[in-house]
């Protein structure tokens, strides 16, 4: 397949890529000068490194290369509690015709954490995330991203935000490398920076083989990965990822989780949705369960799940909610 020689400047090893990616992440802490709010957070992150409930040395951001190898991927006993509130959503409302898709949702996501949104199909996860990312205009409500109103001051907010939408296509007649470069330029990077970061991201997400092929010829998982890379190219403060693990193979998922963990360790914030309770339970610090456009439970993963697994708790919540709705007439007596 890859018979043509690859230009030397585009050949990177994975280790190269990860090292370069760390420098990309480091750029988070050197916040844009014109943005005092960002600078505050950056300082707070530098002064007090992410607090962990039961600190595990492997997760300290100082030695990410080693920690990656030694990290036990399947269990994580501690959750980061995070710093300031990075994303504050209040009274978010959206209806399509008579259907209320998102019914006055409030969310609060702390910086330096991974926040998971779970819910059954059609619960309003994508609608919520679309409104947070500025893709879908809310009927009411407010979204504050580190002090910036996403809908009132969208250009400032979107510079701080990287998004991976679900079910929206990419400009897939571009090659993977062109797509990343395109995203970089549109985010206002200069050509040189865009080129360098594209090369880093290509190596990090393991796209080296495919970077010169059209995105339309990619597998679903590879398309997700390149979209994720495009979301990160401008070193945003917040990543909003809608179903980032859907149709991604295990190895790639681990790679993505690793990237997200480093990103969060450096002070970034992630909000993601997923169907996989195991994944959410494993990687998220806090979680919100959305059913029928309402939040049924939210808080630290450990608090939400109690002594059950998150999956059991989730099924309980969804079923209680449905049962309650079915029997609603019984509670409104006729006389």
């Amino acid at each position: 397949m890859a018979t043509e020689p690859i230009a030397p400047e585009t050949r990177y090893s994975l280790e190269d890529g990860l090292a370069r990616f760390d420098t990309l992440i480091d750029q988070l802490s050197s916040a844009p000068e014109e943005d005092p709010v960002d600078a505050d957070i950056a300082i707070s992150v530098e002064e007090e490194p992410p607090i962990t409930r039961e600190p595990i040395p492997e997760q300290a951001p100082a030695a990410p290369e080693k920690s990656r190898a030694e990290q036990e991927p399947l269990t994580r006993s501690a959750a980061r509690t995070g710093g300031d509130v990075a994303l504050q959503v209040t009274g978010l409302l959206k209806s399509f015709g008579d259907t209320v898709a998102v019914d006055e949702i409030d969310l609060s996501v702390r910086s330096g954490t991974i926040f998971g949104i779970v819910g059954p199909n059609g619960a309003g996860k994508t609608t919520t995330l679309s409104m947070i990312t500025g893709l879908l205009r809310p009927d009411a409500g407010e979204i504050q991203l580190a002090g910036t109103d996403v809908w009132a001051d969208s250009s400032k907010a979107k510079r701080k935000m990287g998004i991976l939408p679900d079910r929206l296509i990419l400009f897939d007649r571009l090659t993977g490398r062109q797509l990343l470069h395109y995203a970089g330029l549109l985010h206002g990077l200069d050509a040189k920076t865009a080129r360098a970061r594209t090369a880093d991201l290509v190596a990090t997400i393991g796209l080296d083989e495919a970077q010169h092929r059209l995105v339309t010829d990619y597998s679903a998982g590879m398309t997700k990965k390149v979209a994720l890379a495009a979301a990160m190219i401008h070193a945003p403060r917040l990543l909003v990822l809608d179903e980032p693990f859907e149709s991604v193979d295990t190895v790639s998922a681990e790679r993505i989780i690793d990237i997200l963990n480093r990103y969060v360790a450096a002070g970034g914030t992630v909000i993601l949705s997923s169907h996989s309770m195991d994944l959410i339970e494993r990687i998220c610090d806090a979680v919100a369960v959305i059913v029928d456009g309402r939040i049924l439970a939210t808080g630290a993963v450990a608090d939400v799940r109690g002594d059950q697994s998150l999956e059991e708790r989730f099924v309980d919540l969804v079923e209680t909610s449905n049962a309650g709705e079915d029997m609603e007439w019984l509670r409104s007596f006729s006389d």
Binding site: L170, F171, D172, R173, Y182, D217
Partner: protein, 522 residues
């Protein structure tokens, strides 16, 4: 060895009948058409025996050339499922020369070859009354059959070797549609002409004499020449036919040699090392959108189809006018402005063409200006050289140098104002279009009426109408009006571009989420 190949071919032919009944029915229908066509041709040849030699020769040469052309052209579309692919013989260890002979000879066993053989034989019958010509016709028939069969065989392998993969198929498909669109006015002309007049007979003879000197027509024309008394000329044509056959054989032999040592690649995906247009365009949002648009104009079948239509429309306009008797020098003024109008119109639904990928422009908060201006870059890239070359050419064909400013004015105005209006309309009135990846000939998945299409087209004409009027005065009256037309064209064109892009940019900035919602419904 050849016998083995022939047996293999016969087995394949027999096996091709072991299909579901529906396929067989389709096959029978096709075969029926082919046989009916051949019978019709036989009847026509039979009728020719009572006509005079000259017209017989003309008809045979023209029809015969068309048939041989079909034998070379049609196999190009069936390269992918070739049952006699030389590569299949690579593992047998046979030398390429023997494979070439075996496959070449066994290609005679096919239905089209059989029909061609019948036709070639029937033209011998047409010359039965002229003993000298009949002898030539026998040789002709052999050359015709060999050329057709080997030509088809070679064409099919060329298609299998070079024209595989999605992109090649798309390209070939577009070329064919283009060719059909080009040919159709000609066919209308042919159909509407009365061929019994002396004048048209002479024209037929002219066409035939030109064709007789081409590889396709030479073997068919030889007997007619002999019947007319020019025996040496006839043998010369036969010799020419033999040389052509030898060339085809050489191509076939080389092709087999190459194919047998070249591994079959899987459907090769497009690979572009480097950044393509992104390396050329400036590294800012406008340049990025421009580079992305340029890449799409080159790669996306939907844009390529639209581009193909741009030069075809003026032809479709001119041919009827020409037939209706309009002086052709007046018609020379038509193509350039029409092409400019269509180039400007091409981007009037550009956001809909992006489909939901437009989210990236929202996520990056791409400014409306960058989005709008970037999208006008590909048509400007094409339109500016087109005007620079086309305007002097138009004036040269028209024959009056004074009208050059007016031609410039009208073309520039139509292109720029058209781009401006399209930029505004595509952000304000998008309508559903074919989705990315679907065939450019497919119908949109949803249909919702929008004024966008007509608004941008007639809006451009309306805006340009003062310039058109001034140019008309320039043609009718004289020089001052021509300069006025240029001036007005520049003012209206640039003004329309700036205004349209501005309106579009504002609309895009304000309505970006609604535009995304529209593409989601699409």
């Amino acid at each position: 060895m050849v016998a083995v190949f022939l047996r293999l071919r016969l087995t394949q032919l027999a096996n091709s009948l072991r299909r579901p009944p529906v396929h067989l029915l389709g096959l029978m229908v096709l075969l029926g058409y082919a046989v009916a066509g051949t019978v019709f041709a036989l009847g026509a040849v039979d009728d020719l025996r009572v006509a005079d030699e000259a017209s017989v020769g003309s008809m045979i040469t023209i029809c015969g050339s068309l048939i041989l052309f079909g034998f070379l052209l049609i196999p190009l579309f069936f390269g992918s499922d070739d049952p006699a692919d030389p590569r299949a013989c690579a593992s047998t260890g046979l030398p390429a020369g023997r494979v070439a002979v075996g496959l070449g000879v066994s290609a005679v066993i096919s239905v089209p070859a059989l029909l061609l053989a019948v036709l070639a034989a029937s033209q011998i019958a047409a010359w039965a009354d002229h003993p000298g010509a009949a002898v030539v016709a026998v040789f002709s028939a052999v050359i015709i059959l060999a050329t057709g069969v080997l030509g088809a065989r070679t064409a099919r392998s060329i298609a299998a070797f070079w024209l595989h993969g999605r992109r090649a198929r798309e390209t070939v498909g577009l070329i064919v549609v283009g060719a059909l669109l080009l040919v159709s006015p000609g066919l209308i002309g042919i159909a509407s002409t009365d061929w019994s007049t002396r004048e048209s007979q002479e024209r037929l003879a002219d066409v035939a004499s030109v064709l007789s000197e081409t590889p396709l027509g030479a073997p068919w024309a030889a007997p007619a020449l002999a019947a007319g008394g020019d025996a040496s000329g006839a043998w010369l044509l036969l010799l020419f036919g033999l040389v052509v056959l030898a060339v085809i054989w050489a191509v076939w032999r080389v092709l087999v040699g190459r194919m047998m040592v070249t591994p079959q690649r899987p459907d090769s995906a497009i690979r572009t090392t480097g950044l393509g247009w992104f390396a050329i365009m400036p590294g800012n949002p406008v340049g990025a959108v421009a580079a992305r648009s340029l890449s799409y104009w080159m790669r996306d079948g939907r844009y390529r189809l639209a581009l193909l239509v741009v030069p075809i429309v003026p032809i479709l306009l001119i041919v009827p006018l020409l037939i209706a008797g309009v002086w052709w020098q007046n018609l020379a003024l038509i193509p350039l402005p029409v092409m400019c109008l269509f180039l400007g119109w091409m981007i009037h639904n550009d956001i809909s063409t992006d489909n939901t990928a437009i989210w990236l422009h929202l996520a990056t908060e791409t400014s409306g200006w960058a989005d709008r201006i970037g999208r006008t870059v590909p048509p400007l890239f094409l339109g500016i050289p087109l005007i620079a070359i086309g305007a002097p050419l138009t004036v040269r064909l028209y024959g009056v140098p004074d009208v050059l400013p007016a031609v410039f004015g009208v073309s520039i105005c139509l292109l720029l104002a058209g781009l401006g209006i399209s930029s505004a309309v595509s952000a304000r009135h998008p309508y559903p279009t074919v989705r990315p990846g679907d065939s450019p000939f497919a119908q949109p998945q949803s249909t919702a009426s929008s004024p966008g299409q007509a608004l941008s087209f007639f809006g451009t004409i309306l805006v340009a109408s003062p310039v058109l009027a001034l140019a008309g005065l320039g043609l009718a009256v004289g020089e001052d009006w021509n300069d006025m037309a240029l001036l007005a064209g520049l003012v209206v064109g640039v003004g329309g571009y700036v205004l349209g892009v501005g309106v579009g940019a504002r609309a895009f900035a304000k309505r970006a989420p609604e535009l995304l919602a529209f593409t989601l419904r699409n």
